[in-house]
Symmetry: C2
Subunit: 201 residues, 2 copies
């Protein structure tokens, strides 16, 4: 009886938890213990939240944001600017921009970047949806807010190319010194970009 | 409509996940995204595993181990030595000893340590259960495997005192250099203990 059912229950749960980013096998076991000690206040609410959120939340048909409604609440918010679309790689980037609270337009979530290495081409991303939105008219600016990585910038260049035939402004996020950042810790590329884009004081 | 229901779903889930040890607010949000991308293969199985494990698994009436049976499979395993009890603070310590595979007796889980600071006295721990088990007879050795912390050692001394009136051996884990450990990185207490308990080569 070395193949304990109890071990199976607990270990199966630990194995599932270990698949979450940020949790390894050891911290997943710690998490299981923590959960078993807080069944009513944490474990069962978490089970319910997981199944309910899985059932309710899905991608918005317009922008790809995750929401329990489609179109999502950003797309259907009348107070947001419909003429400007900010293109991001992932929903996490959309969340980051929303947390910053500095953007009041629409979004478009690509669902990744072009990657020759991983075999991700334009058809694997939500690019056709973006072109269709722009083609539908009424858009005056597209901000390409892909990450400042090689793949992110490759994707931005590809989109720039695709969007060139439309009568609109295509922009990208500024490079520079992060607010609160120390020059000593920045890479040369960032410093170069920050110098090149220097502004009058 | 700033109080989005969608934000509530996703953020409520993130808040619950952030209560797990090892996950902060940021990694909890990353985990939610990861889960939403793997609904069928991870999110729903995790929800099921959580509710099933919560329902099935509870503390063993004899030793306090977590199991879907009570008495647990260690207590009811006929091949394990019934005459020796290893006392641990927490189920995680029991798991660690079981992973090491070096102990084939019974366990007793205290559920913590005595702590004057946190107001945890003998009645808050599963100490009466241990005394009852020893009082029941048939035990020849109790190993006090509480942690080598101040609270752990205080608890061990308290238990030593309580167990003194029984006719049995009370032992504790050896202190010394961890296997694979480098002397340079060890604290003086450990080095002193390792020297004091030195053995012929």
């Amino acid at each position: 009886m070395t193949d304990h059912q109890q071990q199976n229950d607990i270990e199966a749960l630990a194995k599932l938890l270990a698949k979450l980013p940020g949790l390894g096998p050891r911290s997943a076991r710690r998490a299981v213990l923590h959960l078993l000690k807080k069944k009513e206040s944490l474990m069962l609410p978490l089970a319910t939240a997981l199944s309910e959120t899985a059932e309710r939340v899905g991608p918005c048909a317009i922008c790809g944001n995750l929401d329990s409604l489609s179109p999502c609440r950003i797309c259907s918010d009348a107070r947001r600017d419909k003429t400007i679309i900010c293109v991001v790689e992932d929903v996490s980037d959309l969340w980051a921009l929303e947390r910053a609270g500095a953007f009041r337009g629409q979004y478009h979530v690509l669902g990744g970047t072009l990657s020759a290495l991983e075999g991700i081409g334009p058809d694997n991303l939500n690019i056709r949806g973006l072109i269709d939105r722009v083609d539908g008219g009424g858009i005056r600016e597209v901000i390409l807010a892909t990450n400042a990585t090689v793949d992110g910038q490759t994707t931005a260049h590809y989109l720039m190319d695709k969007l060139g035939r439309f009568d609109l402004t295509v922009s990208q996020l500024a490079h520079g010194v992060p607010v609160g950042g120390e020059l000593d810790y920045l890479d040369e590329g960032t410093l170069l970009a920050a110098l090149k884009s220097r502004r009058p004081f």
